[in-house]
């Protein structure tokens, strides 16, 4: 899984898709056309893409309320997602799920989740399945620095160790759970990985703003897990660029904090800087991608706006396969 040119371009493209998807939503939500609660992932792109670049459709992930980035990185259809967020009949979940419940089982994406901490146990189940199949596949639970305090997350870590399944706990420490700082809510003073280690797992840490660090560290971690050594955990230091949800005035931020992180900890900016150093890629390649992505997002919004709303009777379908 060396980072050849093609892979680098794809990674950049996927990060850019996430960024533009979220920036566009940030604008569109203001129009009132999009309903419900939306949590934007922008700022954390290097984590979703760095992790998912190393997975295939048979590897599973379980995501969170802040799930767009994970979904996109795992291969969910951009237009289907946009339609879902707009609540359209042909959205990825037929308008029944919305932003917090996007899933695509075929792609190994077992769902965003509105319940903080609910994903980790589900990922352990998918890891049990992977172990049973014996094909070296893994299952990943994404959790935040807030979710890492939920009982379910702890239970899942212990159970993964006990059952020695290929579950990977990816902690995205973006320093906030809603309005609360990680230094307050995590008893071990913001060290989430250390706590995972306390559960008997091998842990890694990496800079979640740097795609290369994410990718290379995950390469190492995945080697370990795919080899059958049992579960592992990794903590990424990362940043969220928008509020907790769209509409959040972010009064808990320090002066200039947002400007600083957007300047110094932007995964896309950092990628651009490092990619050209690698001598495989020109900035013009990336500019071209930027244009393509802009067109894609524009098309997604246009199509989502034009798409049909679900019809009221559909409220009754899809509860059971048969009843």
């Amino acid at each position: 899984m060396q980072l050849d040119r093609e892979r680098l371009l794809r990674a950049y493209k996927n990060m850019k898709i996430i960024r533009m998807f979220e920036e566009r939503l940030h604008e569109e939500i203001k129009t009132g056309e999009i309903a419900g609660f939306t949590h934007l992932y922008a700022g954390q792109e290097a984590v979703a893409v760095g992790v998912c670049e190393l997975l295939d459709d048979e590897d599973k992930i379980v995501s969170t309320h802040r799930g767009h980035g994970h979904c996109l990185a795992k291969g969910c259809d951009v237009i289907g997602m946009m339609k879902e967020i707009y609540g359209r009949a042909d959205g990825l979940c037929k308008g029944k799920g919305g932003s917090m419940h996007i899933a695509d089982i075929e792609k190994g994406m077992l769902g965003a989740n509105g319940i903080v901490g609910a994903g980790a146990p589900i990922a352990v189940g998918a890891a049990m399945s992977a172990k049973l199949d014996g094909r070296g596949k893994v299952s990943i639970a994404f959790s935040g620095d807030g979710a890492c305090n939920q009982g379910t997350t702890f239970e899942a870590m212990n159970m993964a160790v006990v059952t020695k399944v290929p579950a990977i706990f990816v902690f995205e420490n973006n320093k906030y759970s809603e309005n609360t700082g990680v230094d307050y809510a995590v008893g071990t003073a913001s060290d989430i990985a250390g706590r995972a280690e306390g559960f008997g797992m091998k842990v890694w840490r990496a800079n979640g703003s740097d795609f290369f660090d994410v990718y290379n560290t995950m390469l190492d971690l995945l080697d370990y897990v795919r080899a059958g050594h049992g579960p592992a955990a990794i903590e990424f230091d990362t940043e969220r660029f928008f509020g907790h949800f769209e509409g959040d005035p972010q009064k808990y931020r320090g002066d200039g904090e947002l400007a600083r992180i957007r300047d110094q900890r932007d995964p896309l900016k950092q990628f651009r800087l490092k990619a050209v150093e690698l001598d495989k890629i020109d900035l013009s390649d990336l500019d071209k991608i930027d244009e393509d992505v802009a067109a894609l997002i524009e098309a997604a919004v246009t199509q989502a706006r034009a798409a049909d709303a679900p019809s009221p009777e559909d409220v009754l379908t899809d509860v059971y396969v048969s009843y």
């Binding site: 309903a35 609660f37 359209r88 979940c93 319940i115 939920q150 609360t180 307050y184 009064k251 931020r253």
Partner: protein, 336 residues
């Protein structure tokens, strides 16, 4: 009387009760807001705007911001109550009862009984509930039917700012565990609130509108749906007696049965899915104790047996509406 929003009535009541009784303690996720951030405590002041200012006034031992750990929040409330305090815990969304049901159901609700009546457990657990904000399947549920079923808990559902004050005061000063359910779509509703001490006893319904043809029983957000339906029906000459239960446990059986003696016709409006719901609970009451009064089949207007859908068009269809209530009323009136 002062006019205010329901959320303000709650914040004010919490403040007043904390001032009055130093045993009152509040706890929950982000109820202070800004803990451990550069913005600092109170930089946001609670997700629902129901706890702003309390931390600055009463300090960290009485206003306890917690990690995301609902079981530990409710458990801590239980431990505080058993230790002589009067905790008021906030569960951000009633849907999160899923991660803390044990503490509500097997702990809080049962201590008094299991311990042979030798303790009280005066904890109030506040939670926002209900659909209407397109918050989808995990942030929109009407958990009150499930909680009403649990012996040992009381379940309170204010619909006006005045009721919010009167019922919350009663809840905090009482000696039993209380679930206090706040509909998300009612937080910004305005109304006159009595000044000074104001308590509303549990188990006393509020007559929202008088009428002699049909009894409509509702609670929470559904009261306004029932009211809208009844207002429209008046033009057709149908008089609806609209009852706001205020508390579903205990429930004011007399208010329902007395009204049925006059009307003989019952429509229940319930935001929950239909099975084993508050709607069927009231149907059960009527079919046992008002059988001889009933002139027509009972009509239950509920959500369907589905999760709450996301899209606007679907959620609108999901929720009981004034139209559906009117259709139900017409059906009971037309029955021969």
């Amino acid at each position: 009387m002062t006019e205010m929003m329901l959320r303000e009535a709650i914040a004010q009541t919490l403040h007043d009760e904390m001032l009055r009784d130093s045993n009152v303690v509040v706890l929950g996720e982000d109820i202070v807001g800004g803990m451990g951030t550069e913005g600092g405590p109170e930089s946001t002041g609670g997700i629902w705007g129901t706890s702003g200012g309390l931390f600055d006034k009463f300090g960290p031992n009485r206003v306890i911001d917690t990690p995301i750990s609902e079981s530990a929040i409710v458990g801590a409330a239980a431990g505080l109550a058993l230790s002589g305090k009067r905790p008021v815990a906030e569960i951000m969304f009633a849907d999160f009862v899923g991660v803390c049901l044990d503490q509500l159901w097997n702990q809080l609700a049962k201590f008094r009984y299991m311990f042979g009546g030798k303790t009280t457990c005066p904890a109030v657990i506040r939670m926002s509930y209900g659909a209407g904000l397109n918050a989808a399947a995990q942030h929109s549920q009407s958990v009150y039917s499930l909680l009403t079923a649990l012996p040992g808990l009381k379940v309170v559902m204010p619909t006006t700012p005045a009721d919010a004050k009167g019922l919350l005061t009663t809840a905090i000063r009482g000696s039993d565990p209380v679930i206090f359910m706040e509909h998300k779509a009612l937080y910004a509703v305005r109304g006159e609130v009595p000044e000074g001490e104001y308590m509303i006893p549990f188990g006393q319904a509020r007559q929202v509108r008088a009428g002699r043809d049909v009894t409509i029983v509702a609670c929470g957000l559904m009261v306004s749906v029932a009211e809208a339906a009844a207002a429209g029906l008046e033009a057709e000459g149908i008089g609806c007696n609209v009852i706001d239960l205020r508390t579903t446990s205990p429930i004011d059986e007399d208010a329902i049965l007395d009204s049925l003696e006059i009307t003989g016709r019952l429509v229940v409006v319930d935001e929950s899915p239909p099975r084993c719901s508050l709607a069927t609970d009231i149907a059960g009451l009527a079919s046992q104790h008002a059988f001889s009064s009933l002139k027509a089949p009972i009509q239950l207007v509920t959500a369907p047996h589905t999760p709450v859908p996301f899209a606007r068009e679907l959620e609108r269809e999901y929720l009981p509406s004034a139209d559906k209530v009117q259709a139900a009323v017409r059906a009971v009136m037309a029955y021969k």
